[in-house]
């Protein structure tokens, strides 16, 4: 009788846990949709010391992902907000760590590089309220010049792969 043996509870608890873990964690590894990179993923596969890669670290250290998501869903809201193409798992294959985010205190940034330009981003990071009155985004004027420039490079790289990139990737 299970209620009399702590060990039996222990083992049953592990077995039930493993079933769920297998289905939701292990099985996805066998779904090619989850694991095959796309041209967009390739375009974001930054070389380790590139400004974009460093900018991504600045993005993480300053927790931009607590207010900004990076994924576009095939739902009315995302279409209406002009967020750009719907993203698929393959777009993120090289995202380490992933920066999906879970809250849109600010707009989605998946393809923000094609909506904004470098100069605007630089000014906006230093003082969001000056460019967007009433914005509740924090000021990032405390970042060093290097960090800011790297961060801007990273933001500007957030755009769909160009056709040239896609063609090169498909070869």
């Amino acid at each position: 009788m299970v209620e009399r043996s702590a060990l039996a509870i222990y083992i049953a608890a592990i077995v039930l846990f493993m079933m769920g873990a297998f289905a939701t964690i292990i099985l996805p590894f066998f779904d090619p949709d989850m694991t095959t990179p796309t041209a967009n993923a390739e375009a974001r596969n930054y070389a380790p010391d590139s400004p974009e890669a460093k900018g991504r670290l600045v993005y993480i250290a300053n927790g931009c992902n607590t207010c900004h998501t990076q994924y576009v869903r095939p739902v009315k809201a995302d279409v209406a907000m002009n967020l750009g193409p719907v993203t698929v798992p393959g777009d993120y294959v090289y995202d380490k760590p992933h920066l999906f985010g879970s809250n849109r205190t600010g707009p989605d940034l998946m393809w923000v590089g094609s909506r904004t330009n470098a100069q605007w981003n630089y000014q906006h990071l230093k003082n969001p309220q000056k460019l967007v009155p009433g914005s509740i985004m924090p000021k990032y004027d405390y970042l060093s010049e290097d960090d800011l420039n790297n961060l801007v490079s990273y933001l500007m790289s957030l755009k769909p792969a160009t056709n040239a990139q896609a063609a090169a990737f498909n070869k």
């Binding site: 095939p74 002009n82 967020l83 750009g84 193409p85 909506r115 056709n163």
Partner: protein, 139 residues
């Protein structure tokens, strides 16, 4: 549990805690059953949402209607909900200013960023013409 009588008023003590043997309420059993049925039904029938599309569209015949359906499916995400610009530029008046040939070209071969939509989706010439007809109607 064999040595216990499953009697409502029977109370036994485990680890100094008294516990009774109340019945499982009937409405709970109904809830269990209803959820189980729903789960099977949902597992078999549910599909992912896709609200980027309006409709499919015929492959033959030229009409602005068919073009609109194709555009809702493929262009709104980048050119904005009313095609007034988003990630890509506005499409209002583009056929007049840049010419039909240019637009056909970009649909078939893509731009710098824009994908070669007509080619990728194997659109027929009629479908491309329908899209151009629809584009002309964007004010």
């Amino acid at each position: 549990m064999s040595e216990q009588h499953n009697h409502e008023d029977h109370i036994d003590e485990v680890n100094g805690m008294k516990q009774g043997h109340g019945k499982v309420p009937r409405f709970l059993i109904i809830v269990y059953a209803a959820l189980a049925c729903w789960a099977v039904f949902y597992a078999l029938t549910a599909k992912g949402i896709d609200e980027t599309a309006n409709a499919g569209g015929n492959t033959a015949g030229v009409s602005a209607e068919a073009g609109k359906a194709l555009m809702g499916q493929s262009c709104a995400l980048c050119h904005g909900q009313n095609y007034k610009g988003g990630l890509g530029p506005t499409l209002a008046g583009v056929v007049d200013t840049k010419g039909e040939e240019y637009v056909t070209g970009i649909l078939k071969n893509g731009g710098v960023t824009m994908t070669a939509i007509a080619k990728d989706n194997n659109w027929t010439d009629d479908q491309v013409k329908s899209v151009i007809a629809a584009m002309k109607e964007i004010k």
